[in-house]
């Protein structure tokens, strides 16, 4: 069964471009350019995966996630952005997106990312892996709830390989673990990112702006 995909982006040109690239590979069930319309249409059509632009007027992609997740928690989100601002990307992942890829991604990679997200897995582009490592490494160890906030050595290792543009398969081979285990580590990182204390990450975001 083909995956039902919905596209939210305020750039018409980019939307039609993605739509053309995805044609025949997934089922694009709709697109929207504004937060409000997007929330309404997604809640109506209930796609499997929403491709979501991080930077949108009126609350941005985060508002779309919040508006949909309340009513349809099963709809998955893949953030897509031309922006490298780490705070924005981490914020949208914390809001509930299953992954983040940059807009320069190739069509094949995009389809594979969509498939992974639809299956409930996390998709970490090298950039996102870098942002997450950066966020967690700047949180001092004494400040955090060890159960929740700290990345294990293995998780850190997996993230670092993702940041070095390794695929899951390559990581599995290098670390002598199964692909499934790699996926589990990545999902755990995602969960920790979403649950970790807002306070610490706010400090991180703030410090980044000062640097």
């Amino acid at each position: 069964m083909t995956i039902r995909v919905f596209i939210v982006d305020d750039h018409d040109l980019f939307r039609s471009g993605v739509r053309a690239e995805l044609r025949d590979r997934v089922d694009v069930v709709g697109e929207a350019s504004e937060v409000e319309a997007a929330v309404e249409m997604i809640n109506e059509r209930i796609p499997g995966v929403v491709l979501l632009d991080v930077h949108m007027p009126a609350g941005g992609g985060k508002a779309v996630i919040e508006g949909v997740k309340i009513r349809n928690p099963d709809v998955e989100f893949l953030a897509l952005s031309a922006s490298d601002a780490a705070e924005d990307v981490v914020a949208i992942v914390r809001a509930g997106a299953r992954g983040y890829v940059t807009k320069t991604i190739s069509a094949e990679e995009l389809v594979s990312a969509i498939t992974r997200v639809a299956e409930g897995h996390a998709v970490f582009s090298p950039q996102l892996a870098g942002f997450v490592l950066d966020a967690f490494s700047s949180i001092s160890v004494s400040d955090i709830d060890p159960e929740l906030d700290l990345l294990t050595k293995r998780e850190r290792e997996v993230l670092q390989h993702l940041a070095r543009a390794y695929t899951y398969r390559e990581i599995a081979e290098r670390l002598f673990i199964s692909i499934k285990t790699v996926e589990t580590h990545v999902s755990n990182v995602l969960r920790k990112l979403q649950l970790s204390s807002r306070h610490e990450l706010t400090i991180w975001a703030h410090n980044r702006k000062l640097i």
Binding site: A129, G130, L133, D134, S137, S138, R164, A165, I211
Partner: protein, 374 residues
Amino acid sequence: MDTVDELTTDAERTLRRVVVGYRAVSAAWLVILGVVSVARSEGPARPGVVVATMVLAVGWALVTIALHARSSELLRSWSFVALDTGLAAWTLVAPDVAGSENFYGGYPMSPVFLAAYGRGMVGGLTVAVAMAAVQLSRLAGPADPTASSAAVLIYLFAGAVAGWAIAVLREADQTRRKAEAALAQEQAERVRAEQRSEMAAHLHDSVLQTLALIQRNSANDTEVASLARRQERELRAWLYGSEPGAIRGAFGEQIRRMCAEVEDAHQVAIELVIVGDAEGDESMDSLVQAAREAVVNAAKHSGADNIAVYAEALPERATVFVRDRGSGFDISTVAPDRQGLRESIIKRLERSGGSASVHTTIGAGTEVELVLER
């Protein structure tokens, strides 16, 4: 001129304070007169009525003061004005109050001012006419030393003047506030215009120039990609504030600049991820130099059009990974005279106390790992 929308301006507050203040003063004056009148040896026949009227006037003045602080909306309503006028009329017509020789104060004038404040000229004159009618009825009644025809004129005059003066004050205040708002808006617009022209100038110098170049070079794919990448990097730096050279010396910035230069010089795409940051120093410089050598090698020899660079600066160590999915090579066959790898990367880093290792598989690509303990 009816009620004013903005009840919170300074001018409105001042007007309200004056009107309510007059009310308080005249109520106090009424009490003094009442006490004097009751205390006289040949005092009023019904002192109870005098005392009750005093209590009523003071109580009502307190209610007005409380309302003035909380709900000026009610203070302005016609029903309040009517009730207020009725109570003031009572102080005039109550037996033994105004009629007693010494008992006459400014209290009956206060509803005229209040109505002029709340309902403008119409309100002031309406109440003035009502109070004048009460005075006229007293003139027509049994002889009353305090009833006078002059009071009738005073009411009408006060109502008209108060209503007019308040209207003039409000208008002046409104004009002033409008002028201030217009000035503020004009300033905001000027700032916006300046920002827009600055933005336009920047876009013209950068993006539009690049777009023109891209149109001229549209047949040359690599040139177009390179132009687009360079423009993207430049625009991103402008938008997100890491301008080239802005943080001179910082490790992350050096790596970023190095990658940009190699991208431009060798027509490859570099995917750069930076974690943490550190101050630059001599050994960090040698790490950046070694990384540059590794990136250039990958660009020149691997055949891949994508290179991944990962730079991590932690307090205890700095690491750079340079990875391509290109052809790979056999380390043992690298000619001893190929200085790049051995001299520029490994030796250079070892002199600074770091280490370099190369992992490569023919057909699968190469990864160079550069570590500098700090």
